[in-house]
Amino acid sequence: MAVLLIIQIPISLFNLNNIDPQDNLFIGLASIFMLLSMTGIYWLNRTREGSLSSYIFLGVVMLVVSFSDTPQQIANGRSLFVFMIPIVMASLILQATSTFLFATLGSIIIYIFAISINESPNVTAMLSYFLVALISWMSSSGLQSALKDLRTINTNLDKIVIERTNELADALTRERIESGRNQAILNSIADGVIVFDKQHVATLANPALSQLTEIPLQTLHGISLDNFVQLRNIPQTSQQSIKRLIQKSEHSEITPRVEWGDKVLSASVADVHDSQTHETIGSVAVFRDITQEAQVEKMKDNFVAVVSHELRTPLNAIMGHAEILKEEVHGPLNEKQLSVTQRVMVNVSRLLSMVGDLLNEAQIRAGKLTVRPEAIKTASLLENLRVAMDKAVTDKGLEFITTIGDEMPEELIGDSQRLQQIMINLTSNALKFTEMGSITVSLNRVGKEHWKIEVKDTGVGIPENELPFVFDAFRQANNLEFTTRQYGGIGLGLSIVKQLVELMNGEIQVTSGVGKGSTFTVVLPLLKEMKGA
């Protein structure tokens, strides 16, 4: 509208100078009218929405066109086609259909002019208006529908943009909350956590790690694995075990101990996988301060050593002195003295075996007990067992039967001392719970690759509900009838047997019933070498 106004002014000025005075006045007035109208329309357009200003504008254009020439020219002459301008404009600036309104208006105007000068109206021109209107309408409505489509697309696009923006904002908020939460968790756990990328550069570390390692948190971020292990002058072995762990980066059940200054840390590592591609993107190492546990363990080891030496030595002395008396090294004893000496020996030997059991148990638990396979004569196993147990079994009035199956090889590979311990413990256990009948120990082949030790008694048996616990340490079949006090011992014999059997890659089973006796079966591999050798 403003552009039209600017164009109108020079046209008006130009016209004023070149046309005869009567026309000049008329054109001048028309131009002023046009200028004023344009200003009014401009103002109206600024203050009011809608198409009213456009209608008025086109009306003014129509009016100016109607009086821009003589009535003859308007009705039949050259000005006839000037009416095409508002008709085409209507289709562009108003609705497509309004083009017909202005075609009709143009037709009415030229009809009136024609009547006023007593001429017949130019029907061809009037028809051409409608033809132009029709073409304008068609192109305009095409344009409009395209615009409408565009507007719909635009609206949808806007909607999608808004949705996406909201989603993104939500995700960002969630991410912020999540990462904030993860950070808070990392910050508050007591274990030191450090994440290395594939190039072994730290991408994340928590304050606990900084405290454990005494390396400032800022230094830990972005630190290389090499620098990480070298920064605090920790022992070479610890450096290597951390590096090996992280470079290998396979999750393992073994958590190596590393010395870090005056602390002892346990370290465990797991691969970090991308949640989408499952590709390995680095590794996370967790360090825990186990200084106290390590100290306790050391104390326990020391305790075991102290007990081993300090407790056994005086017991050994009592036993030895009693033996010297019994062997009458210092002269003959009377019957009473001999009996007392023997009772001292029996009790000391019980005490010694308990201390021995405790130490064995402690050593097995500490992983210090190993088996040493060697070639042993099968028959010697039973011979030695008889030497150790014959007297005790016959003293109780029981029959002691030992057999070797035909298919047993004459020689075995095994730890004779530990096998002896297994057989003695099982036989002692049988003896403890058997008052009459027999104890049978037999060695037999099981298939091609195994052999078994079977210890069968005719004793009180074990109640079914107690069977699962017979190999537990410090436990005996424990009801009123089967008390520890009644049967003696501290309940470690079978626990040690089970652990020794497992150390030899074997299995132990028990079948029993109350009053039916018990059978303990140890199945061992017939191998050239054994675990722990």
């Binding site: 050994n316 002395a317 036993m319 030895g320 010694l352």
Partner: protein
């Protein structure tokens, strides 16, 4: 070789006494030493038929003495019996002695074992 001499190197007086009695009963002439340092010196002077060595000794420990015994060519025919309370240690020393005995060591056991060496 000093005639049927058994050298007992054990710091516990009671055990030393028992071992002495056992070896005596087996027929040996027995000399008992309670201190590692004294034993170290004595081993340069005598060639015992049996050396009964406790691993836990004052001043010079059993392991050091064991090394010296193995290094001393004069003692190559001496029977070494190691006495220890630690069964793990016992396994470690199995290859370095004629017999390794884990305490408690019985009087009768020691007497019977050593009497076999007397005429060997």
């Amino acid at each position: 070789m000093t005639e049927n001499l058994a050298l007992i190197i054990e710091d516990d007086e009671d055990l030393s006494d028992i071992f002495t009695n056992a070896l005596h009963a087996a027929g040996y002439k027995v000399e008992a030493i309670l201190d590692g340092k004294v034993a170290e010196e004595r081993l340069t002077q005598v060639v015992p038929k049996i050396i009964l060595l406790d691993m836990h000794l004052p001043h010079v420990n059993g392991a050091t003495l064991l090394k010296q015994i193995h290094a001393n060519d004069k003692l190559k025919n001496s029977r070494i019996i190691i006495a220890t309370a630690d069964s793990v240690q016992a396994e470690f020393y199995r290859g370095m002695a004629s017999i390794v005995l884990v305490k408690p060591i019985s009087f009768a056991q020691l007497r019977d074992l050593t009497s076999r060496f007397l005429n060997a």
